[in-house]
Amino acid sequence: MSGFWQGRRIPLAWLLLTRQPARLAVALAGIAFAGILMFMQLGFRDGLFDASVTIHKLFNTDLVLLSPRTMSSIAMAGFPRRRLIQAMADPDVVGTTPVNWNLLLWRNPETRKTRSILALGFEPSDPLFTDPVIATRAAALSQQGRVLFDERSRPEFGPVASWFRQGRVVDTEVAGKRVRVAGLISLGPSFGADGNMITSRETFLRINPNTTRGSIELGLIRLRPGADAAKVAERLRGSLPNDVAIYTKQGFVEFEKNYWRSSTAIGFIFTLGAGMGFVVGCVIVYQILYSDVSDHLPEYATLMAMGYPLIRLLGVVAREGLLLSVLGYIPAWLAGQGLYALIRSGTKLPVAMELNRSVLVFVLILAMGLGSATLAMRKLADADPAEIF
Protein backbone atom coordinates (compact mmCIF):
# COMPACT_ATOMS: atom_id res chain seq x y z
CA MET A 1 0.00 0.00 0.00
CA SER A 2 1.45 3.33 -0.92
CA GLY A 3 0.12 6.82 -1.32
CA PHE A 4 -2.94 8.44 0.13
CA TRP A 5 -4.92 8.31 -3.11
CA GLN A 6 -4.50 4.55 -3.18
CA GLY A 7 -5.60 4.26 0.40
CA ARG A 8 -8.86 6.07 -0.31
CA ARG A 9 -11.82 3.74 0.00
CA ILE A 10 -15.57 3.83 -0.19
CA PRO A 11 -16.70 5.39 3.13
CA LEU A 12 -18.56 2.29 4.20
CA ALA A 13 -19.14 3.39 7.81
CA TRP A 14 -20.59 6.70 6.69
CA LEU A 15 -22.86 5.03 4.12
CA LEU A 16 -24.03 2.38 6.59
CA LEU A 17 -25.12 5.15 8.95
CA THR A 18 -26.56 7.66 6.51
CA ARG A 19 -28.50 5.21 4.38
CA GLN A 20 -30.58 4.41 7.50
CA PRO A 21 -31.66 7.91 8.48
CA ALA A 22 -34.20 6.80 11.08
CA ARG A 23 -31.65 4.75 12.97
CA LEU A 24 -29.07 7.51 12.65
CA ALA A 25 -31.54 10.04 14.03
CA VAL A 26 -32.28 7.83 17.04
CA ALA A 27 -28.59 7.29 17.68
CA LEU A 28 -27.77 10.98 17.42
CA ALA A 29 -30.71 11.94 19.62
CA GLY A 30 -29.48 9.44 22.21
CA ILE A 31 -25.92 10.69 22.17
CA ALA A 32 -27.00 14.32 22.17
CA PHE A 33 -29.28 13.61 25.11
CA ALA A 34 -26.46 11.97 27.04
CA GLY A 35 -24.17 14.87 26.15
CA ILE A 36 -26.72 17.46 27.26
CA LEU A 37 -27.21 15.61 30.51
CA MET A 38 -23.46 15.61 31.13
CA PHE A 39 -23.13 19.28 30.18
CA MET A 40 -25.99 20.18 32.49
CA GLN A 41 -24.80 18.21 35.50
CA LEU A 42 -21.16 19.23 35.20
CA GLY A 43 -22.20 22.81 34.48
CA PHE A 44 -24.34 22.94 37.58
CA ARG A 45 -21.57 21.43 39.67
CA ASP A 46 -18.86 23.82 38.47
CA GLY A 47 -21.32 26.70 38.48
CA LEU A 48 -22.24 26.08 42.10
CA PHE A 49 -18.62 25.85 43.17
CA ASP A 50 -17.77 29.00 41.23
CA ALA A 51 -20.84 30.73 42.58
CA SER A 52 -19.71 30.04 46.11
CA VAL A 53 -16.79 32.43 45.57
CA THR A 54 -18.39 35.17 43.47
CA ILE A 55 -17.71 37.77 46.12
CA HIS A 56 -14.40 36.29 47.27
CA LYS A 57 -12.83 37.01 43.91
CA LEU A 58 -13.81 40.67 44.02
CA PHE A 59 -11.96 41.72 47.19
CA ASN A 60 -9.07 44.13 46.75
CA THR A 61 -6.53 42.13 48.72
CA ASP A 62 -3.38 39.99 48.59
CA LEU A 63 -3.71 38.19 51.92
CA VAL A 64 -6.74 37.40 54.01
CA LEU A 65 -7.12 36.96 57.76
CA LEU A 66 -9.89 34.71 59.02
CA SER A 67 -10.73 33.24 62.37
CA PRO A 68 -9.52 29.62 62.62
CA ARG A 69 -13.07 28.79 63.69
CA THR A 70 -14.46 30.02 60.36
CA MET A 71 -15.61 27.11 58.23
CA SER A 72 -17.18 28.94 55.32
CA SER A 73 -18.74 32.22 54.21
CA ILE A 74 -22.05 31.23 55.80
CA ALA A 75 -20.47 30.70 59.22
CA MET A 76 -17.87 33.40 59.76
CA ALA A 77 -16.37 33.66 63.24
CA GLY A 78 -14.83 36.82 64.66
CA PHE A 79 -11.23 37.59 65.62
CA PRO A 80 -9.57 40.68 67.18
CA ARG A 81 -9.28 43.60 64.83
CA ARG A 82 -5.88 44.55 66.21
CA ARG A 83 -4.31 41.58 64.45
CA LEU A 84 -4.52 43.70 61.30
CA ILE A 85 -2.65 46.52 62.99
CA GLN A 86 -0.01 44.01 64.08
CA ALA A 87 0.24 42.79 60.51
CA MET A 88 1.03 46.36 59.41
CA ALA A 89 4.37 45.93 61.15
CA ASP A 90 5.55 43.72 58.31
CA PRO A 91 7.54 45.81 55.82
CA ASP A 92 5.74 44.33 52.80
CA VAL A 93 2.26 45.22 54.07
CA VAL A 94 1.04 48.55 52.69
CA GLY A 95 -2.62 48.58 53.73
CA THR A 96 -5.36 46.72 55.55
CA THR A 97 -9.15 46.76 55.63
CA PRO A 98 -11.12 45.33 58.55
CA VAL A 99 -14.44 43.88 57.38
CA ASN A 100 -17.51 42.79 59.32
CA TRP A 101 -19.38 39.95 57.67
CA ASN A 102 -22.76 38.54 58.54
CA LEU A 103 -25.92 37.14 57.03
CA LEU A 104 -28.85 39.37 58.02
CA LEU A 105 -32.56 39.45 57.26
CA TRP A 106 -33.48 41.93 54.56
CA ARG A 107 -37.10 43.00 54.24
CA ASN A 108 -38.40 43.13 50.70
CA PRO A 109 -39.74 46.71 50.47
CA GLU A 110 -42.56 45.59 48.18
CA THR A 111 -43.84 42.34 49.72
CA ARG A 112 -42.55 42.97 53.27
CA LYS A 113 -41.14 39.44 53.36
CA THR A 114 -37.69 38.89 54.80
CA ARG A 115 -34.79 36.99 53.32
CA SER A 116 -31.20 36.36 54.32
CA ILE A 117 -28.72 38.77 52.70
CA LEU A 118 -24.93 38.98 53.02
CA ALA A 119 -24.04 42.23 54.75
CA LEU A 120 -20.48 43.60 54.81
CA GLY A 121 -19.42 46.44 57.04
CA PHE A 122 -16.22 48.47 56.48
CA GLU A 123 -14.79 51.97 56.76
CA PRO A 124 -16.07 53.66 53.58
CA SER A 125 -12.68 55.31 53.05
CA ASP A 126 -10.88 51.92 53.00
CA PRO A 127 -10.49 49.96 49.78
CA LEU A 128 -12.77 46.92 49.79
CA PHE A 129 -13.39 45.72 46.22
CA THR A 130 -11.18 46.07 43.17
CA ASP A 131 -14.03 47.71 41.25
CA PRO A 132 -13.32 51.50 41.39
CA VAL A 133 -17.01 52.31 40.88
CA ILE A 134 -17.80 50.79 44.26
CA ALA A 135 -15.14 52.90 45.93
CA THR A 136 -16.73 56.08 44.55
CA ARG A 137 -20.22 55.08 45.59
CA ALA A 138 -18.98 54.09 49.06
CA ALA A 139 -18.69 57.79 49.88
CA ALA A 140 -22.49 57.83 50.29
CA LEU A 141 -22.11 55.41 53.21
CA SER A 142 -20.54 57.99 55.48
CA GLN A 143 -24.07 59.02 56.41
CA GLN A 144 -25.60 56.77 59.05
CA GLY A 145 -28.20 54.17 58.08
CA ARG A 146 -27.22 54.08 54.41
CA VAL A 147 -26.47 50.87 52.47
CA LEU A 148 -25.34 50.02 48.94
CA PHE A 149 -27.46 47.24 47.44
CA ASP A 150 -26.17 44.63 44.97
CA GLU A 151 -28.36 45.07 41.88
CA ARG A 152 -27.55 41.49 40.79
CA SER A 153 -29.15 40.04 43.93
CA ARG A 154 -32.00 37.60 43.33
CA PRO A 155 -35.40 39.25 42.64
CA GLU A 156 -36.80 37.98 45.96
CA PHE A 157 -35.17 40.94 47.69
CA GLY A 158 -37.57 43.27 45.91
CA PRO A 159 -37.44 45.68 43.00
CA VAL A 160 -34.81 47.74 44.80
CA ALA A 161 -32.66 48.45 41.76
CA SER A 162 -35.51 49.53 39.48
CA TRP A 163 -37.07 51.67 42.19
CA PHE A 164 -33.75 53.31 42.89
CA ARG A 165 -33.16 54.05 39.22
CA GLN A 166 -36.61 55.60 38.95
CA GLY A 167 -35.44 58.01 41.61
CA ARG A 168 -37.63 56.65 44.38
CA VAL A 169 -36.34 56.68 47.92
CA VAL A 170 -35.93 53.02 48.88
CA ASP A 171 -36.29 52.53 52.63
CA THR A 172 -36.45 49.11 54.20
CA GLU A 173 -35.34 47.14 57.23
CA VAL A 174 -32.27 45.01 57.82
CA ALA A 175 -32.41 42.86 60.92
CA GLY A 176 -35.28 45.02 62.10
CA LYS A 177 -33.34 48.31 61.76
CA ARG A 178 -34.34 51.01 59.31
CA VAL A 179 -31.92 51.57 56.41
CA ARG A 180 -32.02 53.58 53.19
CA VAL A 181 -30.50 52.45 49.89
CA ALA A 182 -27.90 55.04 48.95
CA GLY A 183 -26.73 53.42 45.73
CA LEU A 184 -26.34 50.28 43.68
CA ILE A 185 -23.28 48.09 43.18
CA SER A 186 -22.75 45.03 41.03
CA LEU A 187 -21.37 41.91 42.78
CA GLY A 188 -23.57 38.88 41.98
CA PRO A 189 -25.23 36.29 44.18
CA SER A 190 -23.16 33.40 45.47
CA PHE A 191 -24.09 29.97 46.65
CA GLY A 192 -24.22 30.97 50.29
CA ALA A 193 -25.91 34.31 49.76
CA ASP A 194 -28.74 35.17 47.37
CA GLY A 195 -27.96 38.87 47.61
CA ASN A 196 -25.40 41.30 48.96
CA MET A 197 -25.31 44.71 50.57
CA ILE A 198 -22.44 46.76 51.95
CA THR A 199 -22.53 49.44 54.56
CA SER A 200 -20.31 51.44 56.84
CA ARG A 201 -18.87 49.84 59.91
CA GLU A 202 -20.84 52.23 62.04
CA THR A 203 -24.19 51.31 60.46
CA PHE A 204 -23.26 47.64 60.56
CA LEU A 205 -22.70 47.82 64.29
CA ARG A 206 -25.98 49.69 64.76
CA ILE A 207 -27.83 46.92 62.87
CA ASN A 208 -25.90 44.25 64.77
CA PRO A 209 -25.70 45.54 68.33
CA ASN A 210 -24.46 42.15 69.53
CA THR A 211 -21.20 42.36 67.60
CA THR A 212 -18.26 42.46 69.96
CA ARG A 213 -16.45 45.78 69.74
CA GLY A 214 -13.06 45.38 68.12
CA SER A 215 -14.01 42.07 66.57
CA ILE A 216 -14.10 41.51 62.79
CA GLU A 217 -14.77 38.49 60.58
CA LEU A 218 -12.47 39.27 57.65
CA GLY A 219 -9.18 41.14 57.40
CA LEU A 220 -7.83 42.26 54.04
CA ILE A 221 -4.08 42.83 53.74
CA ARG A 222 -2.60 44.53 50.69
CA LEU A 223 1.09 44.10 49.92
CA ARG A 224 3.76 46.23 48.31
CA PRO A 225 3.84 45.55 44.53
CA GLY A 226 6.23 42.69 43.78
CA ALA A 227 6.02 41.18 47.26
CA ASP A 228 5.74 37.39 47.47
CA ALA A 229 2.33 36.77 49.05
CA ALA A 230 3.15 33.23 50.13
CA LYS A 231 6.33 34.35 51.91
CA VAL A 232 4.61 37.21 53.70
CA ALA A 233 1.82 34.83 54.77
CA GLU A 234 4.48 32.53 56.19
CA ARG A 235 6.10 35.41 58.12
CA LEU A 236 2.74 36.53 59.49
CA ARG A 237 1.93 33.00 60.62
CA GLY A 238 5.09 33.18 62.71
CA SER A 239 4.48 36.62 64.15
CA LEU A 240 0.71 36.65 64.76
CA PRO A 241 -0.98 34.66 67.56
CA ASN A 242 -2.86 31.54 66.55
CA ASP A 243 -6.30 33.14 66.87
CA VAL A 244 -6.11 34.06 63.16
CA ALA A 245 -5.65 31.97 60.02
CA ILE A 246 -3.80 33.53 57.07
CA TYR A 247 -4.63 32.78 53.45
CA THR A 248 -3.53 34.17 50.13
CA LYS A 249 -6.42 35.48 48.04
CA GLN A 250 -6.39 32.30 45.93
CA GLY A 251 -6.18 30.22 49.10
CA PHE A 252 -9.23 32.05 50.45
CA VAL A 253 -11.15 31.21 47.24
CA GLU A 254 -10.08 27.56 47.42
CA PHE A 255 -10.92 27.38 51.13
CA GLU A 256 -14.48 28.37 50.36
CA LYS A 257 -14.82 26.07 47.33
CA ASN A 258 -13.42 23.21 49.37
CA TYR A 259 -16.09 23.67 51.98
CA TRP A 260 -18.85 23.18 49.41
CA ARG A 261 -16.95 20.38 47.72
CA SER A 262 -16.20 18.35 50.84
CA SER A 263 -18.88 19.26 53.36
CA THR A 264 -21.85 18.97 51.01
CA ALA A 265 -23.18 16.32 48.65
CA ILE A 266 -23.21 18.74 45.70
CA GLY A 267 -20.09 17.39 44.02
CA PHE A 268 -21.20 13.80 44.46
CA ILE A 269 -24.76 14.39 43.27
CA PHE A 270 -23.84 16.18 40.09
CA THR A 271 -20.92 13.92 39.22
CA LEU A 272 -23.28 10.98 39.69
CA GLY A 273 -25.78 12.72 37.41
CA ALA A 274 -23.15 13.16 34.73
CA GLY A 275 -22.17 9.50 35.16
CA MET A 276 -25.80 8.49 34.61
CA GLY A 277 -25.80 10.45 31.36
CA PHE A 278 -22.66 8.61 30.32
CA VAL A 279 -24.16 5.20 31.07
CA VAL A 280 -27.43 6.00 29.28
CA GLY A 281 -25.44 7.16 26.25
CA CYS A 282 -23.33 3.99 26.27
CA VAL A 283 -26.42 1.79 26.34
CA ILE A 284 -28.04 3.66 23.45
CA VAL A 285 -24.94 3.70 21.24
CA TYR A 286 -24.21 0.05 21.99
CA GLN A 287 -27.77 -0.95 21.13
CA ILE A 288 -27.64 0.97 17.86
CA LEU A 289 -24.25 -0.40 16.81
CA TYR A 290 -25.06 -3.93 17.91
CA SER A 291 -28.30 -4.07 15.92
CA ASP A 292 -26.52 -2.43 13.01
CA VAL A 293 -23.86 -5.13 12.99
CA SER A 294 -26.49 -7.87 13.42
CA ASP A 295 -28.58 -6.54 10.54
CA HIS A 296 -25.58 -6.42 8.24
CA LEU A 297 -24.02 -9.71 9.33
CA PRO A 298 -24.53 -11.44 5.94
CA GLU A 299 -22.99 -8.43 4.23
CA TYR A 300 -19.98 -8.45 6.54
CA ALA A 301 -19.65 -12.20 5.90
CA THR A 302 -19.79 -11.52 2.16
CA LEU A 303 -16.96 -9.02 2.47
CA MET A 304 -14.93 -11.58 4.39
CA ALA A 305 -15.65 -14.16 1.68
CA MET A 306 -14.41 -11.65 -0.89
CA GLY A 307 -11.09 -11.52 0.94
CA TYR A 308 -11.50 -8.48 3.15
CA PRO A 309 -9.56 -8.99 6.40
CA LEU A 310 -11.51 -8.95 9.67
CA ILE A 311 -9.52 -5.94 10.84
CA ARG A 312 -10.98 -3.80 8.04
CA LEU A 313 -14.49 -4.74 9.08
CA LEU A 314 -13.70 -3.98 12.73
CA GLY A 315 -12.44 -0.64 11.45
CA VAL A 316 -15.82 0.00 9.84
CA VAL A 317 -17.61 -0.53 13.17
CA ALA A 318 -15.06 1.63 15.00
CA ARG A 319 -15.55 4.39 12.44
CA GLU A 320 -19.30 4.17 12.90
CA GLY A 321 -18.78 4.72 16.63
CA LEU A 322 -16.45 7.63 15.94
CA LEU A 323 -18.86 9.26 13.47
CA LEU A 324 -21.77 8.88 15.87
CA SER A 325 -19.72 10.49 18.66
CA VAL A 326 -18.69 13.48 16.61
CA LEU A 327 -22.10 13.99 15.01
CA GLY A 328 -23.87 13.59 18.36
CA TYR A 329 -21.52 15.97 20.15
CA ILE A 330 -22.38 18.94 17.95
CA PRO A 331 -26.07 19.19 18.91
CA ALA A 332 -25.16 18.40 22.52
CA TRP A 333 -22.69 21.30 22.58
CA LEU A 334 -25.14 23.70 20.96
CA ALA A 335 -27.95 22.67 23.29
CA GLY A 336 -25.51 22.99 26.19
CA GLN A 337 -24.85 26.63 25.23
CA GLY A 338 -28.58 27.34 25.23
CA LEU A 339 -29.06 25.52 28.49
CA TYR A 340 -26.29 27.48 30.20
CA ALA A 341 -27.85 30.74 29.02
CA LEU A 342 -31.09 29.51 30.55
CA ILE A 343 -29.39 28.60 33.83
CA ARG A 344 -27.65 31.98 33.96
CA SER A 345 -30.88 33.90 33.50
CA GLY A 346 -32.92 31.59 35.73
CA THR A 347 -30.53 31.13 38.64
CA LYS A 348 -27.91 33.86 38.11
CA LEU A 349 -25.27 31.18 38.60
CA PRO A 350 -22.05 31.90 36.68
CA VAL A 351 -22.27 28.92 34.31
CA ALA A 352 -20.55 29.17 30.94
CA MET A 353 -19.35 26.74 28.26
CA GLU A 354 -15.79 26.44 29.41
CA LEU A 355 -13.15 24.86 27.22
CA ASN A 356 -12.23 22.35 29.92
CA ARG A 357 -15.76 21.08 30.21
CA SER A 358 -16.30 21.05 26.42
CA VAL A 359 -13.22 18.87 26.05
CA LEU A 360 -14.18 16.64 28.98
CA VAL A 361 -17.65 15.96 27.59
CA PHE A 362 -16.23 15.39 24.11
CA VAL A 363 -13.77 12.85 25.49
CA LEU A 364 -16.56 11.13 27.42
CA ILE A 365 -18.78 10.95 24.32
CA LEU A 366 -15.84 9.66 22.30
CA ALA A 367 -15.20 6.99 24.92
CA MET A 368 -18.89 6.18 24.78
CA GLY A 369 -18.88 5.73 20.99
CA LEU A 370 -15.62 3.81 20.74
CA GLY A 371 -16.33 1.69 23.84
CA SER A 372 -19.73 0.70 22.47
CA ALA A 373 -18.19 0.00 19.07
CA THR A 374 -15.62 -2.29 20.70
CA LEU A 375 -18.39 -4.24 22.42
CA ALA A 376 -20.46 -4.40 19.23
CA MET A 377 -17.43 -5.76 17.36
CA ARG A 378 -17.72 -9.02 19.26
CA LYS A 379 -20.86 -9.66 17.23
CA LEU A 380 -18.72 -9.60 14.09
CA ALA A 381 -17.11 -12.84 15.20
CA ASP A 382 -20.46 -14.45 14.31
CA ALA A 383 -19.97 -13.50 10.67
CA ASP A 384 -18.93 -16.83 9.15
CA PRO A 385 -18.26 -16.56 5.43
CA ALA A 386 -18.75 -20.32 5.08
CA GLU A 387 -22.40 -19.95 6.09
CA ILE A 388 -23.44 -17.60 3.33
CA PHE A 389 -23.43 -20.05 0.44
Partner: protein
Protein backbone atom coordinates in the same frame (compact mmCIF):
# COMPACT_ATOMS: atom_id res chain seq x y z
CA UNK B 1 4.01 -21.73 -16.18
CA UNK B 2 0.57 -20.97 -14.79
CA UNK B 3 -1.06 -22.87 -17.61
CA UNK B 4 0.72 -26.08 -16.80
CA UNK B 5 -0.71 -26.01 -13.33
CA UNK B 6 -4.42 -26.64 -12.72
CA UNK B 7 -6.31 -23.78 -11.08
CA UNK B 8 -7.91 -26.23 -8.68
CA UNK B 9 -6.56 -29.63 -7.73
CA UNK B 10 -8.49 -31.66 -5.17
CA UNK B 11 -7.07 -35.02 -4.12
CA UNK B 12 -8.57 -37.61 -1.81
CA UNK B 13 -10.64 -35.05 0.07
CA UNK B 14 -12.78 -36.20 3.01
CA UNK B 15 -14.91 -33.94 5.15
CA UNK B 16 -17.09 -34.42 8.19
CA UNK B 17 -19.66 -32.35 10.04
CA UNK B 18 -20.36 -32.63 13.77
CA UNK B 19 -18.34 -34.55 16.29
CA UNK B 20 -18.51 -37.73 18.34
CA UNK B 21 -21.60 -39.87 17.74
CA UNK B 22 -23.13 -37.16 15.53
CA UNK B 23 -20.12 -37.07 13.24
CA UNK B 24 -21.34 -37.37 9.68
CA UNK B 25 -19.23 -37.76 6.57
CA UNK B 26 -20.24 -35.35 3.81
CA UNK B 27 -17.38 -35.76 1.36
CA UNK B 28 -15.60 -38.97 0.58
CA UNK B 29 -12.49 -39.41 -1.54
CA UNK B 30 -13.24 -36.43 -3.77
CA UNK B 31 -10.88 -35.90 -6.69
CA UNK B 32 -11.26 -32.88 -8.97
CA UNK B 33 -9.04 -30.81 -11.24
CA UNK B 34 -10.02 -27.62 -13.03
CA UNK B 35 -7.75 -26.14 -15.69
CA UNK B 36 -7.32 -22.39 -16.16
CA UNK B 37 -10.22 -20.98 -18.16
CA UNK B 38 -12.28 -24.13 -17.86
CA UNK B 39 -15.98 -23.96 -17.01
CA UNK B 40 -17.09 -26.86 -14.81
CA UNK B 41 -20.67 -27.43 -13.70
CA UNK B 42 -21.32 -29.41 -10.55
CA UNK B 43 -24.74 -31.00 -10.22
CA UNK B 44 -26.39 -33.39 -7.81
CA UNK B 45 -29.29 -33.70 -5.36
CA UNK B 46 -29.62 -31.36 -2.40
CA UNK B 47 -27.53 -32.18 0.62
CA UNK B 48 -25.01 -34.28 -1.31
CA UNK B 49 -22.10 -32.05 -0.34
CA UNK B 50 -21.82 -29.69 -3.35
CA UNK B 51 -21.84 -26.53 -1.30
CA UNK B 52 -19.37 -27.98 1.19
CA UNK B 53 -16.96 -28.71 -1.65
CA UNK B 54 -17.44 -25.16 -2.93
CA UNK B 55 -16.67 -23.62 0.47
CA UNK B 56 -13.56 -25.80 0.84
CA UNK B 57 -12.25 -24.77 -2.59
CA UNK B 58 -13.22 -21.18 -1.82
CA UNK B 59 -10.95 -21.22 1.27
CA UNK B 60 -13.94 -20.47 3.50
CA UNK B 61 -13.57 -23.64 5.55
CA UNK B 62 -10.61 -25.49 7.01
CA UNK B 63 -9.69 -28.67 5.11
CA UNK B 64 -9.86 -31.65 7.51
CA UNK B 65 -8.34 -34.41 5.45
CA UNK B 66 -6.90 -34.71 1.97
CA UNK B 67 -5.41 -32.07 -0.29
CA UNK B 68 -6.94 -28.99 -1.88
CA UNK B 69 -4.63 -26.84 -3.99
CA UNK B 70 -6.13 -23.60 -5.27
CA UNK B 71 -4.12 -21.17 -7.41
CA UNK B 72 -1.02 -23.07 -6.42
CA UNK B 73 -1.61 -22.91 -2.68
CA UNK B 74 -2.20 -25.92 -0.44
CA UNK B 75 -5.21 -25.35 1.83
CA UNK B 76 -4.66 -28.33 4.14
CA UNK B 77 -3.19 -26.86 7.34
CA UNK B 78 -3.57 -23.32 6.00
CA UNK B 79 -3.86 -20.41 8.43
CA UNK B 80 -6.80 -18.03 8.61
CA UNK B 81 -4.67 -15.20 7.20
CA UNK B 82 -3.47 -17.35 4.28
CA UNK B 83 -7.03 -18.26 3.39
CA UNK B 84 -8.16 -14.65 3.64
CA UNK B 85 -5.33 -13.60 1.32
CA UNK B 86 -6.13 -16.39 -1.13
CA UNK B 87 -9.81 -15.41 -1.24
CA UNK B 88 -8.82 -12.12 -2.87
CA UNK B 89 -7.98 -14.16 -5.95
CA UNK B 90 -11.28 -16.04 -5.98
CA UNK B 91 -14.52 -14.47 -7.16
CA UNK B 92 -17.72 -15.67 -5.54
CA UNK B 93 -21.29 -15.42 -6.72
CA UNK B 94 -23.98 -16.42 -4.32
CA UNK B 95 -27.47 -17.79 -4.65
CA UNK B 96 -28.79 -14.66 -3.03
CA UNK B 97 -26.83 -11.87 -4.66
CA UNK B 98 -25.44 -10.70 -1.24
CA UNK B 99 -24.92 -7.15 -2.35
CA UNK B 100 -24.35 -4.45 0.28
CA UNK B 101 -27.74 -2.78 0.64
CA UNK B 102 -26.32 0.57 1.61
CA UNK B 103 -24.08 0.86 -1.46
CA UNK B 104 -25.07 1.77 -5.00
CA UNK B 105 -24.42 -0.68 -7.84
CA UNK B 106 -21.24 1.18 -8.71
CA UNK B 107 -20.00 1.19 -5.11
CA UNK B 108 -20.77 -2.51 -4.72
CA UNK B 109 -18.65 -3.33 -7.74
CA UNK B 110 -15.96 -1.02 -6.46
CA UNK B 111 -15.82 -3.00 -3.21
CA UNK B 112 -14.54 -5.80 -5.45
CA UNK B 113 -12.08 -3.55 -7.28
CA UNK B 114 -10.86 -2.11 -3.95
CA UNK B 115 -9.20 -5.44 -3.24
CA UNK B 116 -6.63 -4.69 -5.94
CA UNK B 117 -3.44 -3.16 -4.64
CA UNK B 118 -1.64 -0.32 -6.32
CA UNK B 119 -4.53 1.35 -8.08
CA UNK B 120 -5.97 4.79 -7.35
CA UNK B 121 -9.49 5.40 -6.15
CA UNK B 122 -10.42 6.96 -9.50
CA UNK B 123 -8.97 4.03 -11.42
CA UNK B 124 -10.95 1.61 -9.30
CA UNK B 125 -14.11 3.61 -9.86
CA UNK B 126 -13.50 3.64 -13.60
CA UNK B 127 -12.97 -0.11 -13.40
CA UNK B 128 -16.27 -0.52 -11.58
CA UNK B 129 -18.04 1.46 -14.33
CA UNK B 130 -16.41 -0.62 -17.04
CA UNK B 131 -17.60 -3.80 -15.41
CA UNK B 132 -21.13 -2.54 -15.00
CA UNK B 133 -21.08 -1.58 -18.69
CA UNK B 134 -19.87 -5.09 -19.50
CA UNK B 135 -22.88 -6.59 -17.70
CA UNK B 136 -25.20 -4.08 -19.39
CA UNK B 137 -26.02 -1.92 -16.38
CA UNK B 138 -24.37 1.36 -17.42
CA UNK B 139 -27.69 3.15 -16.87
CA UNK B 140 -28.07 1.91 -13.29
CA UNK B 141 -24.76 2.97 -11.74
CA UNK B 142 -26.22 4.89 -8.83
CA UNK B 143 -29.18 2.68 -8.00
CA UNK B 144 -29.29 0.87 -4.68
CA UNK B 145 -29.75 -2.93 -4.79
CA UNK B 146 -33.30 -2.47 -3.51
CA UNK B 147 -34.20 -0.63 -6.71
CA UNK B 148 -32.83 -3.30 -9.05
CA UNK B 149 -34.56 -6.42 -10.36
CA UNK B 150 -33.33 -9.92 -9.44
CA UNK B 151 -31.48 -10.35 -12.73
CA UNK B 152 -29.90 -6.93 -12.46
CA UNK B 153 -28.72 -7.65 -8.91
CA UNK B 154 -27.15 -10.91 -10.03
CA UNK B 155 -25.36 -9.03 -12.83
CA UNK B 156 -24.01 -6.55 -10.31
CA UNK B 157 -22.80 -9.50 -8.24
CA UNK B 158 -21.02 -10.92 -11.31
CA UNK B 159 -19.43 -7.53 -12.01
CA UNK B 160 -18.32 -7.32 -8.37
CA UNK B 161 -16.81 -10.82 -8.44
CA UNK B 162 -14.93 -10.13 -11.68
CA UNK B 163 -13.77 -6.64 -10.67
CA UNK B 164 -11.21 -8.18 -8.30
CA UNK B 165 -9.66 -9.92 -11.38
CA UNK B 166 -10.02 -13.42 -9.96
CA UNK B 167 -8.46 -16.45 -11.59
CA UNK B 168 -11.18 -18.68 -10.21
CA UNK B 169 -14.88 -17.96 -10.02
CA UNK B 170 -17.14 -19.98 -7.72
CA UNK B 171 -20.88 -19.71 -8.24
CA UNK B 172 -23.56 -21.36 -6.12
CA UNK B 173 -26.81 -21.71 -8.07
CA UNK B 174 -26.56 -18.22 -9.54
CA UNK B 175 -29.80 -18.71 -11.49
CA UNK B 176 -31.92 -20.07 -8.64
CA UNK B 177 -33.72 -16.82 -7.98
CA UNK B 178 -34.15 -15.91 -11.66
CA UNK B 179 -36.68 -16.83 -14.34
CA UNK B 180 -35.38 -19.11 -17.11
CA UNK B 181 -34.72 -16.41 -19.72
CA UNK B 182 -32.91 -14.08 -17.28
CA UNK B 183 -31.03 -17.05 -15.85
CA UNK B 184 -29.82 -18.01 -19.28
CA UNK B 185 -28.65 -14.45 -20.00
CA UNK B 186 -26.78 -14.23 -16.71
CA UNK B 187 -24.99 -17.54 -17.24
CA UNK B 188 -24.02 -16.69 -20.82
CA UNK B 189 -22.68 -13.37 -19.61
CA UNK B 190 -20.77 -15.04 -16.82
CA UNK B 191 -19.21 -17.56 -19.14
CA UNK B 192 -18.28 -14.96 -21.77
CA UNK B 193 -16.64 -12.61 -19.29
CA UNK B 194 -14.82 -15.40 -17.46
CA UNK B 195 -13.47 -16.71 -20.75
CA UNK B 196 -12.21 -13.23 -21.70
CA UNK B 197 -10.33 -13.06 -18.39
CA UNK B 198 -8.97 -16.59 -18.63
CA UNK B 199 -10.76 -17.29 -15.38
CA UNK B 200 -11.78 -20.81 -14.40
CA UNK B 201 -15.38 -21.31 -13.26
CA UNK B 202 -16.87 -23.86 -10.91
CA UNK B 203 -20.64 -23.54 -10.82
CA UNK B 204 -23.07 -25.51 -8.68
CA UNK B 205 -26.46 -25.73 -10.35
CA UNK B 206 -29.74 -27.61 -10.46
CA UNK B 207 -30.89 -25.81 -13.55
CA UNK B 208 -30.96 -28.28 -16.48
CA UNK B 209 -31.36 -25.46 -19.03
CA UNK B 210 -27.88 -24.08 -18.50
CA UNK B 211 -25.89 -27.32 -18.52
CA UNK B 212 -24.71 -26.70 -22.09
CA UNK B 213 -22.47 -23.77 -21.07
CA UNK B 214 -20.15 -26.23 -19.35
CA UNK B 215 -16.90 -27.47 -20.76
CA UNK B 216 -17.37 -30.36 -18.40
CA UNK B 217 -20.11 -31.67 -16.11
CA UNK B 218 -19.39 -33.26 -12.78
CA UNK B 219 -22.02 -35.03 -10.75
CA UNK B 220 -21.97 -35.51 -7.03
CA UNK B 221 -23.88 -38.11 -5.07
CA UNK B 222 -23.55 -38.95 -1.38
CA UNK B 223 -20.26 -37.15 -1.07
CA UNK B 224 -18.62 -38.75 -4.10
CA UNK B 225 -17.88 -37.23 -7.48
CA UNK B 226 -18.69 -38.82 -10.84
CA UNK B 227 -17.65 -37.42 -14.17
CA UNK B 228 -20.68 -37.13 -16.47
CA UNK B 229 -18.53 -36.96 -19.58
CA UNK B 230 -14.84 -37.53 -20.03
CA UNK B 231 -12.61 -34.79 -18.68
CA UNK B 232 -10.82 -32.78 -21.28
CA UNK B 233 -7.72 -30.69 -21.15
CA UNK B 234 -6.86 -31.41 -17.54
CA UNK B 235 -3.41 -32.71 -16.65
CA UNK B 236 -2.48 -33.11 -20.31
Amino acid sequence: MVHLQPTVLVEDLDHWYGSGANRRRVLQGVELAIAPGEVVLLTGPSGCGKTTLLTLIGALRQVQQGSVRVLGQELFHSSRAERQQLRRGIGMIFQGHNLLRCLSAEQNVQMGADLLDGTSYRARRAMARDWLRAVGLEDHLHKLPGDLSGGQKQRVAIARALAARPRLLLADEPTAALDSRTGREVVDLLKGLARDQGCAVLMVTHDPRILDVADRLVRMEDGRLWADNPPRGVAG
